[in-house]
Amino acid sequence: MPVQVISGNYAQAYAAKLARVQVISAYPITPQTTIVEKLADFVASGELQAEYIKVESEHSAMQVCISAAGMGARTYTASSSQGLLLMHELLHWASGIRAPIVMGVANRAIAPPLSIWTDHSDTIAQRDTGWIQYYAESNQEVLDTALMAFRLAEHEDVRLPAMIAEDAFYLSHTVEPVDVPSQEEADAFLPPRKARDIVRPGEATRLGSYIGPDLYMEFRYKVARAMERVPATMAAVEHEYERITGRNHGGPLPLYRADDADAVLVTMGTATTTARSVVDALRARGEKVGLAKLRVFRPLPVHELRELARTVDRIGVLDRSYTGGLVGAAYSEVAGAMYHARERPMLQNFIAGLGGRDITPPMVEQMYRRLIGAGGSEVEWIGLKERKEVA
């Protein structure tokens, strides 16, 4: 298997190519653009046989995927930030008609003030759209997860769209060695889509059109049931991927040195790598700290979070987004999941790294210090430039 030195964006494009996507819709936005640019190269060179459709907006980009998926095609697109926000309405349509679209998202801050840098607010704002959401830590994870996402999304028990989020620039534009599966391996893992419940030319068929109060609720319930079936299917898909490629990224909530930990920090995306190095440094000094990577945000790994709550007394949640509420989105989700845990841990929320601010090892250490010291407020903004009170 050849190792290539590629960016996260190219990892997304390679995954779509290996998946033999049939329809790609493309609308540029920094920092996603090189995903669809690379796919354009693949199509132009003949390496990938796909319809490459240039559209006039992200709203149309998603509609193209919905229509193509609604006719049975395997589809892919990519977006970011304001573009993803413009797609919002269509994201509901995609999950509602059970279109197994796969989308790459380079996580970028939302304006104003305008920023092109890493921040999870764009994808967090899509958490209620019925999409499966992955957050990747490395370019290898981007490629593997995107490829797995096709199989999961298209699985008969699931049939829901999936987005693979990668941190802007930290992954999207940073090159890393990535083990790219061969086409034979990809084909062995991912057979052509077996599409059901699609529209066909010449047949009077409608997807997702008008329904009365007598039946609407039942179709929402079916989406909810499909979401409930995701964890088991995801585990099976990851097992199969490991059998073929030897790689497994550890399920929806991989833990690191959390077994006997007094305090665990929950992270998403690239901040996880930084936090892992801080865990090692603190462990070397005898401090029992650990890490939980929230790799899948939708559906939330409720079972795994409750298991974590059983063994750890103090849990911090790092949100790389601000969502307008009193607490961060990941924090409120984790707290909600743990409310019904048999043993409820002390919880603290850290908001950091907004708009591309680096989350540094000292910042992460500060979070662990707060957790171990069990002091401070429920929500704390870490790394904020504020005037220091002089005693």
């Binding site: 509602g96 008609i97 059970r98 049939r159 059901r196 419940d197 699609i198 529209v199 047949e203 009077a204 068929t205 409608r206 997807l207 997702g208 059109s209 008008y210 329904i211 039946l215 039942e218 179709f219 319930y221 079916k222 499909a226």
Partner: protein, 91 residues
């Protein structure tokens, strides 16, 4: 139309196999368009502007309102050049 009793009877995906014109969607109309044929010039602007499928054209070329689809929006009356359409309150 097929009738469904429970969630288990429904297909997994909200897909319908009959055309949408088989669904009558206008029971909540409060105003209905009434066409005065003596003023109508058969220009078909009402048919063109109707956002639903509520205007048909008969064999003589005159517009006919299909009340199963008409929501009473009044666009046809607004656009009619010779003012041949009156919006009349439903009883």
């Amino acid at each position: 139309m097929t009738s469904y009793e429970t969630v288990e009877d429904l297909p997994e995906v909200c897909i319908a196999t009959e055309p949408s014109d088989q669904i009558e969607t206008a029971s909540w109309r409060t105003m209905r368009p009434v066409i005065r044929l003596e003023a109508c010039t058969k220009c078909n602007v009402c048919w063109k502007f109707c956002p639903d499928i509520a205007i048909a054209i008969n064999e003589e070329g005159y517009p006919v309102v299909l009340l199963d689809y008409c929501k009473g929006c009044g666009i046809c009356a607004e656009e009619c050049k010779p003012r041949a359409i009156d919006m009349v309150k439903e009883g």
